[in-house]
Amino acid sequence: MTQLLVATKKGLFTLEGEGGAEFAVTARAFAGEPVEYAMRDPHTGRYLASVTSAFYGPKIWLADDPGGEWEQAQGVALPESGDQALERIWTIVSGPDGRLWAGGDPGVLFASRDGGASWELNRPLWEHPTRPDWQPGGGGLCLHSIVPWPGEPDRLALGISAVGVWLTDDGGETWRNGNQGIRSPYLPDDAPADTLTYCIHNMHRAPARPERLFMQFHGGVYRSDDAGESWTAIADGLPSDFGFPMAVDPADPDSAFVIPLTADTDRVTPDGRVRVYETRDAGASWTPRGEGLPSEHAYLTVLRQAFGTAGEGDALELYFGATSGDVFGSGDAGATWASVASHLPPVYSVRAAG
């Protein structure tokens, strides 16, 4: 059985079922509240959710059971008496040493060494000398991608929209950017090489070959084979190079999955057909995977964090949700798809809990 955490505009839904079939909704938490992200910490088994109350601001919450009591995490805030406030937490990621990382708006990183009960702002990134030049994307100045390195807890890659890729090899004490090779459609050709206006939409590492990363960009899909220092365009063969969600098969370093949207001016699935595109050759070619997905007059919007996986290899399960409230899943690595749930509120994130 697979347990899915589906974070929505109106609460967190826990779904349980078998890959490739309809799931049952087994719990709803934070009723009425926007839940941006939820995950289960593989080290502790506890559940974490980021919730941004329109009234009371962003918080991280923890629970042993997603249908039970949630407790508020401490320290999820910017320095007091400054000129900025935390707007939102976009992602929570577990590192190989049990450390948890959380990324949010305005381009901030938090770390927790106690399973998410308390958090500390990463000061070197917060105080980075280039920060005054950072510009937000349409969704804000969002740190949405945190990419640990298996077995090397101090190596991390970050994606910040609309700033770029940031890399550390010392656990976040120092940061350098890694945007070489990214071609931005909204910058002039003669923009300085050190420009930091790159609208990263999503980024994932291939766990079986950690120096390889894949990126969905705002107008481009890229691969890096040098740990995020430089990037090669791999969007040829896709119906659009625009989109937000991305996933990889942990067992196959040549694999990536994207869900293209028509364009930044028309953020729906192209031609009214819902299709996931898969590469198994590191982006040299892409294959549409749509068997079982809506194929006519289906104009879905799939948001950045709304694409999750469970398992790997032949047992890879893929799940994505749309702002329409539909959730789809595949129990056979994307070969066939089925409806997992429908009529949910707009889906913000989908993650498998186990």
């Binding site: 329109a54 000129d83 406030a85």
Partner: protein, 87 residues
């Protein structure tokens, strides 16, 4: 000393609805309220010390701001604003 009335989750976090609090202005009073009830930290005031955008504070029934003066016997209500319910 004014009496601050909380509702909903704020009431739960503070362990009750009515709280006598000292402060010359609403801003001072809310900071003092947070000091007395640390669980309220970040819920009414953000990191900048500003009243959150969709929280309204009233003094004796009149909408107030952080700099609004308060005095002995004043009644202060902290309420979610209707503007925050649109999402």
């Amino acid at each position: 000393m004014a009496t601050v009335t909380l509702r909903g989750p704020l009431k739960q976090l503070a362990g009750g609805s009515d709280h006598p609090v000292d402060g010359g202005t609403i801003g001072e009073l809310l900071r003092e309220l947070e000091r007395a009830h640390p669980a309220l930290g970040g819920w009414i005031l953000d990191e900048r010390g500003l009243i959150r955008r969709h929280i309204n504070v009233f003094v004796n029934g009149e909408l107030a701001a952080a700099e609004t003066a308060v005095g002995d016997g004043d009644r202060v209500d902290v309420l979610p604003a209707i503007s925050g319910g649109s999402r």
